[in-house]
Symmetry: C2
Subunit: 441 residues, 2 copies
């Protein structure tokens, strides 16, 4: 009695995964995730179930875990469970319980995915979640990028239930007499989202009873508009930005002809970490005396007579070397970095060498020592970690921190914590066309 | 005690009008419009006050009129008033009371503006109105064009109070002890807008107390994104559409490379009246057998082997002639149309000749006789009128309808009801660079 063809159509239309893939389902035991399990079973897909026990409400958390375990057992599919000390993790990292639960959850799912050879992680988010996200973004302030809602697929995360509204899910649960638990740790419901869900959307649905479908169409139009903007900006980047002696140059005269200037400059400078406010100030200062500088966390932009000069920020005691696209080796401190390229999508595990998607590199790269505020996404993880925390976790003494060479992309992002761990964002994937191999001696 | 500098800054920043301009203020007597009057007085601008009595609630309507008249008298500025039979107008035209009031109001304001030599008409809409419009558009379905809210300036309409929120207006009214009437005919409040205003926005403001300012920034980003899209589409139009023998051609091979295809094709075909649904069907049919046609009200698009052929729709008994950019005269029925161009922004009043903004012309133009559904905006008016209604109002006998030559733009819009009245949208304005002069013999 489930609309299994619609489910399959949605998966195919959005290229979520192939029939032969193994999918890890994130299952809390609530309506949405339990319905997703039944869809996967009925469709005959190969899947396992992962459940996080956040230990936020002792009895209920245990009841949820038991329920999901029994569901997995009855369907004869693999079951993975983990227990988190969410509150103490939140306290240690000085983040909200909700953020802590998110961090812990995504990192663990990704670990299981890799160790148990699953292709994707499926989350049971639906159309109302997407709609709520858009209304939240609008309320808090956003540009076009905040209007695409929740994407059906991003990296290893898929959302195969985005073709259903909450109402449709409730109907399917009732009609098919499906058991579930009232989710005791509904992580996605924070204060603001709850307001949008319970107080705002019901009124919008009185105006338009087909609100979810209308938003689905809005989202398609906005996503396509976003793509047009991205295409324009990436073409502009090629025309406007030139590299000279470790710096990037933008001709002031050309910047002045940009239209609409604010949006395009913001999008051009976004990869270097400049905020909209700084971009507005920069544009207002264009005609004033030259020499003024503006800063992001990783870069400085200086108004010269005819050019804007964009350069990575270096602190005083720091060792730093630039790596250009034709360099083969670069020296810093007692280290020697070698770089080579191959067209084979190839990599090896290990910490001595880094295998990087070369198309993501923005030259000149920078090899430098640690500075305060550095962060990266350790390979295999989903979330940022401060380098200082990473050093502590890996028991690197404070005094040695300053001698670890760090490879930085032209946009200020960490590519490789030299000799230790590379960044998730730059790893080789099945769609990588060219691989850059870095090694340290 | 009014923030007069902010008011002036907003006017200058958005180039609403010049110090020397005469402005006609639309004043209902409610808080917003009365506050606007006080701002104009304090700023020392040259203005008059126009009030519509819609006769919707007898006593209150008279009270409102008296209040606004006294306000105008006390400030010693010109006062214009009119009385409408709103309900009977609505009944005759089969539209809602609210639509009727809008039509009547805007048309009358424009008449007064022209006859009394005002430069602009000022409406007292504020930030909350803009925010409500965006949320309404989102709820009912929209693309990026529905997210710019209410523009500070469009044609002769200006909104100088868009720098204030409703809350700020209420505060200013109380602090300055300004008299007003509770607006008995609050035209802008329909059922859906009321829901957004009273039930939705208060909850969003609990999430973000600075909601109005946040939306103002959202609107700027969205407007700029919309401009990027418009630039891309207009460049694409030049590359993609070629004219041959009265028809427009789009190469199928090029259409297939468009990315994102749906949005760009929709925007390219929008001037010819094709809906998004028809565009989606057209794109799905691209690979199927050729010969299939799709229709808008004014155009047909046919899939040929290598091309999409776009042509104006002609009914069977209709007389029709095409006018190409190099034509000087064209014959149809007993009429002879002449066309010439001048670079002087020049026009004369009268019905024998039409003076048209040449940059708005899309060749080939069409000269044809009346067909059912034809509508236009008569010069000096703000809203569409059916040609059939216009003929009735001007006492043209039914039998003569078929012999009036109508000049149609390449996008299907009426340019000139030959020898009678030209369309508001194509008139010569101060920003016109090239004038096309049409005359009929």
């Amino acid at each position: 009695m489930l609309p299994i063809q619609n489910f399959k159509d949605f998966i195919n239309h959005n290229s979520l995964f192939a029939q032969s893939n193994k999918i890890l389902l994130a299952v809390s035991g609530g309506k949405d995730s339990v319905l997703m399990v039944h869809f996967f079973k009925l469709a005959g897909f190969d899947f396992g179930i992962a459940h996080c026990n956040f230990n936020l409400r002792a009895d209920e958390s245990q009841r949820d875990e038991n329920f999901v375990r029994m569901l997995a057992n009855s369907l004869e599919v693999p079951f993975y469970v983990t227990h988190f000390k969410t509150k103490s993790y939140a306290a240690i990292h000085k983040i909200s319980t909700q953020m802590a639960a998110r961090d812990l959850r995504y990192n663990w799912f990704e670990e299981i995915r890799q160790s148990e050879n699953y292709d994707f992680i499926a989350l049971a988010q639906h159309q109302d979640d997407a709609m709520e996200t858009i209304l939240l973004n609008l309320t808090r302030g956003t540009g076009i990028a905040g209007l695409h809602g929740i994407l059906p697929k991003r990296d290893k995360l898929i959302r195969p239930l985005l073709f259903l509204s909450r109402e449709q899910i409730n109907e399917l649960i009732v009609k098919n007499d499906i058991d579930f638990v009232e989710d005791s740790s509904n992580l996605s419901v924070d204060y603001a989202r709850n307001k949008i869900r319970l107080k705002v959307i019901p009124h919008l649905k009185e105006i338009n009873p087909n609100l979810e479908q209308t938003f689905e169409q809005n989202i398609q139009r906005f996503s396509e508009t976003e793509l047009v903007l991205q295409n324009v900006v990436s073409e502009l980047r090629g025309h406007l930005i030139t590299e000279k002696q470790n710096n990037l140059y933008l001709e002031v005269a050309k910047v002045k002809t940009l239209k609409p200037q604010r949006l395009l400059m913001f999008e051009l400078l976004r990869p270097y970490g400049f905020s909209e406010l700084v971009v507005i100030e920069l544009l207002q200062a264009l005609d004033k005396q030259s020499g003024t500088s503006f800063y992001s966390n990783s870069h400085r932009i200086t108004i010269d007579r005819k050019n804007l000069i964009l350069s990575p920020v270096v602190t005083e005691n720091q060792q730093l070397a630039f790596i250009h696209i034709n360099d083969q080796t670069v020296n810093i401190l007692q280290h020697k970095l070698s770089m080579s390229f191959t067209d084979e999508p190839y990599f090896e595990r290990g910490s001595e060498r880094a295998f990087v998607d070369a198309d993501k590199l923005i030259f000149p790269l920078v090899l430098r020592t640690w500075q305060s505020g550095d962060k990266f996404i350790p390979l295999g993880m989903k979330f940022f970690k401060k380098l200082s925390d990473f050093f502590i976790d890996n028991k690197i003494p404070l005094v040695e921190k300053g001698s670890v060479p760090i490879l930085i992309n032209g946009n200020g992002e960490v590519i490789w914590l030299g000799g230790m761990r590379q960044d998730e964002r730059y790893k080789v994937t099945p769609s990588t066309k060219k691989v850059a191999i870095f090694s340290l001696k």
